[in-house]
């Protein structure tokens, strides 16, 4: 296609030079008519039609869902991403706010929304696809190089739309398999004393009403699964970096970090309890 466009470009420039420099005098009626009808109507119509047909023929393959290697379900919710990786055993590993992909596999994203219209966009990998309440839209992606890419919501969806982002990590297939197997495991029990107190605080304050930590009584489905939250690259749909300081800020000042967020801020908790919560969550790797 590049060669074709270069040829056409050279032809047009050549013609322009020919009529302005080589033969600047007037052309005969007959040759001018041939030039206009042939070069202005027949030639572009033929070329563009051929290109259109070629392009249309490429689309089924791009959207083909038959030979895909893997499905990932993503729901855009105000203002975060619920990501489910269906497993061969029929169950799914539910994670949030981060997507990991194996290099070289064709992946079908099944996109949905429970609240308002969002748009799923990983600029480096594919175009935008809207996530529409009440229906499922699809997107096929085939990553060709490893790396970390930024994703974002590309449809205004409320006060914190601009803070609804995620990171996409394309990994070697082996590394990906190990990562997913680890994410499917239950949360590890806290080891450090502070983290143990953090787990008690997590359960005592009712965090489990909205968040799941697999392997503990926390089984809420409203907010992001936190079973391995400590392993994520960002917090609050990439609104903050993932470290203890940011965790304390997020838990204590949720609505200031992310306006109108559903999660109530827990800034009334004692400082040492917030620190213990942060220690517990960052240990959940």
């Amino acid at each position: 296609m590049t060669v074709g466009s270069l040829l056409i470009w050279a032809l047009v420039i050549g013609l322009a030079l020919y009529v302005t420099r080589a033969h600047p005098e007037a052309h005969g009626v007959r040759s001018a008519r041939w030039l206009i009808i042939g070069g202005g109507v027949v030639f572009p119509t033929t070329v563009l039609t051929a290109l259109l047909i070629y392009g249309l023929m490429l689309i089924p393959e791009l959207r083909a869902t038959g030979d895909i290697d893997r499905r990932i379900e993503v729901a855009g919710e105000q203002w975060w991403w619920r990501v489910r990786y269906p497993q061969e055993n029929g169950e799914a590993v539910e994670l949030a706010n981060e997507i990991r992909l194996p290099l070289g596999e064709r992946i079908l994203f099944r996109l949905s929304s429970p609240d308002v219209i969002h748009s799923f966009w990983i600029p480096s990998l594919a175009g935008k696809v809207d996530m529409i309440p009440g229906r499922i839209t699809e997107l096929v992606v085939e990553p060709t190089r490893t790396g970390t890419f930024r994703g974002a919501c590309a449809e205004y969806c409320g006060a914190s739309h601009a803070l609804m982002n995620f990171q996409v990590v394309v990994m070697e297939p082996d590394a990906y398999r190990d990562w997913l197997a680890h994410q499917a495991t239950l949360a590890r029990a806290p080891t450090a004393e502070q983290a143990r107190r953090g787990q008690q605080a997590f359960l005592a304050n009712g965090c489990g009403a909205c968040h799941t930590v697999r392997g503990t009584p926390a089984d809420g489905r409203l907010g992001p699964d936190l079973t391995h939250v400590g392993s994520r690259l960002g917090l609050g749909a990439d609104a903050l970096p993932n470290d203890r300081e940011a965790l304390i800020r997020w838990i204590g000042h949720t609505g200031e970090v992310k306006p109108d967020v559903r999660m109530p801020a827990f800034g009334m908790l004692p400082v040492d309890e917030l620190a213990a919560l942060a220690a517990y969550l960052s240990e959940l790797e």
């Binding site: 359960l203 009712g206 009584p217 809420g220 489905r221 109530p264």
Partner: protein, 398 residues
């Protein structure tokens, strides 16, 4: 001859006004407008001068002229009639509403308005206007008019507005009691307002004293000596509630972050030591000795309490309010075995943003925001039917 100088003086004085009538009748509209404005300024100036002179009678001792009295009452009655026209009363024959209204009537109303078996104070009878002795006068008003008066109060009388304007449910409780007032026997009144023992004396429009016994006697009028809220659901069961939660709630009433026209005036006058003593007292009261077999909890309520409604953004209740296998925050109230009516009211108030509370109250706002009335009813019945023993009560540090 003798009145000639007087006539001369009159003419001299009237000279500036010569032809005034003529000009008013035939002059330009500008002249007439200026004349009207000048008249207005002169009249209001005269009125101000009269007020400044101090000759206006404001003494309550002198009362009103009959004409003033009639005009003021005519205005007041018309205003109440018109402004209450769009209010529709809820059902008011619920005994728990009557009981709740009775407790507050004794605290806040009886001092001025009297009660069955209790005359008004002689002091208030010398007010202008004197507050009416209510029992025989209630029938003059419709329930919606009583609601309007109790909620808004009446300017230029001593009738105050409801201390917590958002709590219309409390105002209706008082109206429910007022509706029962005509013909109520003194015994019935004492039983409703002062409790079955009726050992307490009627408080006199002031915060109860900090003396622990007197204080508890006053609380017991409504919450019962046993802290079980007198059985109807008008008042919550406080016995065995967590001390941290009780104290946080009392402090919230005292500071006004939890709104109630009934509790706020009582608690606002107490110091923090008294609040701590009260919280400790009620937290230490034992569970009811005999418990009626709780009705089977509704299955729908149980599912709601355990899982919430994730698709509607409603979290489950059990993580904060039990039953759970792990300890819960001491600031979260125990609600197992609480009166369903009380629980449903609190959920409605949380949902509608009308109930504050401790610094944890906003968590309930976000939890209750998307509940409908049916779901609230189911949840209240579920928790009301939970056995007291499901409460999580490790010993509290004393």
């Amino acid at each position: 001859m003798s009145h000639r100088p007087a006539e001369a003086l009159y003419r001299l004085l009237m000279r500036p006004f010569a032809g005034l009538g003529q000009r008013l009748r035939h002059g330009s509209w500008r002249f007439r407008l200026a004349a009207a404005a000048l008249t207005l300024v002169l009249l209001s100036g005269t009125g101000l001068l009269f007020a400044w002179s101090g000759l206006v009678p404001v003494a309550a001792s002198s009362g009103h002229w009959p004409l003033t009295d009639w005009l003021l009452h005519f205005t007041m009655r018309s205003s109440v009639r018109t402004q209450s026209a769009s209010i529709t009363p809820p059902p008011l024959d619920d005994p728990s509403l009557v009981l709740k209204g009775a407790g507050h009537y004794a605290t806040g109303c009886a001092f001025c308005h009297g009660a069955p078996g209790q005359e008004r104070s002689l002091i208030v009878e010398r007010m202008t206007p004197a507050p009416p002795f209510l029992p025989p006068r209630i029938a003059e008003w419709g329930p919606e008019e009583l609601f309007w008066i109790v909620k808004n109060g009446i300017k230029f009388t001593a009738m105050p507005a409801w201390p917590a304007l958002g709590r219309e449910d409390e105002v209706w409780a008082l109206v429910a009691f007022l509706e029962q007032l005509p013909g109520m026997s003194p015994q019935r009144y004492r039983e409703l307002a002062l409790g079955p023992g009726a050992a307490a004396t009627v408080p006199r429009l002031q915060a109860p004293t900090d003396a622990p016994d007197a204080l508890l006697a006053d609380c017991a009028r409504c919450h019962g000596d046993d802290g079980l809220g007198r059985g109807l659901g008008a008042y919550p069961k406080l016995a065995g509630q967590r001390e941290a939660y009780l104290l946080a709630s009392l402090r919230a009433y005292a500071s006004g972050t939890r709104q109630s026209g009934i509790m706020q005036p009582i608690v606002a006058g107490l110091d923090d030591q008294a609040l701590q003593a009260l919280a400790r007292h009620y937290a230490g009261l034992p569970a009811p000795a005999t418990q009626e077999a709780p009705p089977a909890p509704p299955a729908q309520g149980e599912a709601l309490a355990r899982q919430g409604l994730p698709e509607r953004g409603v979290p489950g209740c059990v993580h904060c309010h039990g039953p759970t296998s792990t300890p819960r925050n001491r600031q979260y109230p125990e609600i197992a075995g609480q009166y369903p009516g009380y629980l449903a009211l609190q959920l409605q108030l949380f949902r509608d943003g009308l109930r504050g509370g401790s610094e944890y109250a906003h968590v309930m706002h976000s939890a209750a925001r998307r509940l409908d009335d049916e779901q609230i009813e189911q949840l209240a019945r579920y928790y009301g039917a939970q056995p007291w023993s499901s409460r999580d009560r490790p010993a509290e540090p004393r």
